[in-house]
Symmetry: C2
Subunit: 200 residues, 2 copies
């Protein structure tokens, strides 16, 4: 016997389709929404319905944006010769927060994962090459994560860009700022020793 009303059951199934939301969490969220004022559910519904109308991909850097080109790509104060390649929009945000980068971006929307069918075509690798040639990019900063798939993706892109007239750089790996060396893991410490820099 189905105990939940169909409208609630439908919402639970919708939420259950989202990544990381299991059946129990979906049920808990639906109950919360049910117990909250109807206005909150309607606000969320309206914002969801509006999302795909309002937000598109920037045709240049593939960030989510309400305008095309996006605000960063159309900002005349940015350094248009440098492109920072990141896995996703979240990475762009953390880099922007540092204030240490003034160039443009290229969003891969993923990393290479051949087992999941994610190859170069899925991470807009060719679009990056086309852009480098067209916009005369002088430097590509590979800012994928220092995880196994992130490193593999960076290696692939570096090899792919080898024949292009562009400087390819990678985020430095090493000891996090403020960290006591005795707590650093061996791999990071080894890398920090290998890539040691002259003191200024």
């Amino acid at each position: 016997m189905q105990v939940m009303p169909p409208a609630l059951e439908r919402l639970i199934q919708d939420l259950n389709r989202l990544p990381g939301i299991g059946k129990k969490t979906a049920s808990r969220l639906a109950m919360h929404i049910m117990r909250s004022p109807a206005e909150e559910a309607r606000t969320l519904a309206a914002d969801l319905a509006e999302l795909h109308n309002a937000v598109k991909l920037c045709s240049s850097c593939y960030i989510f944006s309400e305008s095309d080109p996006c605000r960063i790509c159309s900002d005349p104060s940015r350094n248009r010769g440098v492109v920072c390649v990141v896995e996703g929009p979240d990475d762009l945000i953390v880099i922007e927060k540092t204030g240490a980068y003034q160039g443009l971006y290229h969003i891969l929307h993923g990393v290479l994962a051949p087992m999941d069918g994610i190859g170069p075509d899925e991470i807009k690798a060719n679009e990056l090459v086309v852009r480098i040639r067209r916009d005369r990019i002088t430097e590509v900063l590979l800012a994928t994560s220092s995880t196994v798939p992130g490193e593999a993706t960076a290696s692939y892109l570096a090899r792919m860009l080898h024949s292009e007239k562009v400087k390819v750089t990678r985020l430095a790996c090493g000891i996090p700022m403020g960290m006591d060396i005795k707590y650093a893991d061996e791999v990071t410490l080894a890398r920090a020793i290998e890539t040691r820099q002259e003191s200024k």
Copy 2:
């Protein structure tokens, strides 16, 4: 500088308001919805907008229902003399799944939590008394969880119902079926010994 488009930022904030959904999870969910077909976002939006119109509380047992009285309260085959008191709709579902209970329900929608301002009025305790008198209920089965707040709520209700002409029962506590005794925790085992039953 705000990097995310406002429509996406609004959705992230909406999702962030849900319980257990932090800023990062909200962002991850919003990105997923953004990358999925627009149709999926619209389905979720439509189901959310419809929810509060379609689903109400049953005025008898306070379960979420599209009809009032709900399907269980209006089912003539149920034992109308017994009311099972549960914390929430999820608990009702698991009890229904056992097939071991044929009576009606009373949904508290919470447990007593004086520190959070949740007193007897918030868990529909008076409504339970009114219902017991009006519908000539003969047994109330307190099926709150065997957690500290669940036990406290059951104790409160048992004391409250002491003066009513109704048998008050509680779910049995003991060793879970199929569990090796050496893995049972001491409190559960002690309780199982105290409430030991004659073999049949």
